[in-house]
Symmetry: C2
Amino acid sequence: MKQAPSTARAVATPDESSAPESDVHLGLLDDLIPFHLRQAQNASFRAFARRVGRSDLQPGRYATMMLIHLNPGITQKTLSQATGRDTSSLTPVLRDLALRGLIERRQMPSDRRSFALSLTPEGERALEEMARHAQAHDRQVDAIVGDMKQELLALLRRITAELS
Amino acid sequence: MKQAPSTARAVATPDESSAPESDVHLGLLDDLIPFHLRQAQNASFRAFARRVGRSDLQPGRYATMMLIHLNPGITQKTLSQATGRDTSSLTPVLRDLALRGLIERRQMPSDRRSFALSLTPEGERALEEMARHAQAHDRQVDAIVGDMKQELLALLRRITAELS
DNA sequence: TATTGTTATACTCTATAACTATA
DNA sequence: TATAGTTATAGAGTATAACAATA
């Protein structure tokens, strides 16, 4: 992910606009959606990680567990599609979660190649603890966005859908 | 980074809303800004990477080079602040770019602890080639967002600023 | 003492290719 | 033949801690 600028500018002389971090010139970057999408996502992730701190469950595992919680019996294939990852990326994550007793994998009788995923009671507890941090984070971002939330969500969903 | 949901839902029975990837239930996730921020950023990055293909310059290097281009003489410290990374994360990236002849590092006479970064002519050429891909990507995202672009940029900038 | 940057090290996330087992 | 998932392997990106050079 990253940004996407445009024509390169000759040398210095950039015009600043908003100065997100320091007084670094962003030039044309400042008008590009992919750039700011990344900056915002990055800031949001770090803020969330800061909240979670040295918790047992790391931020990266949260979406995975939440999706399993919301879709008990989901297979790895479906889960990988939902998050846009290859199934091989999911294997070590799920193995780790299973080893720690947070998820359960049951071979499906109908198709023994597949495994139905679900959270264990301990997994549900871990998820709820993480959810407390997440809720605080969500509320903070909601407050920043204010009454534009629905419009923002609509735009983000559209970007995701059309670029997938 | 990830998303942040909230209260866990008991078992199945999730209400879907928008079905971004497959027909996976998103439940409360679907109403959370951090979640969709990540999904959109992820989709945007992948779309950009797809465009660039097996190019010499990878997407991850693009923002770094663009910022050096826009701010010739910038130091590693300032650059790391602008992108929210630790200086130690930047070291290998800059070393690689320097080895490939794309950037130049001049020790500053005023403070010999610092190095002034700039693109070489070859670096400028590489950046311009990458910028062509980026422009096409930018235009695609612009088209998706339509006339809401300025509002979206304003929201993303605000999220970045307030969570930093 | 404080700051810029590097080194050593480690961890997370991700992918590709080859593979197993099922279908 | 095609699909679900694993293994082996690799690469990108990031961080912390200890350090060197300089301020």
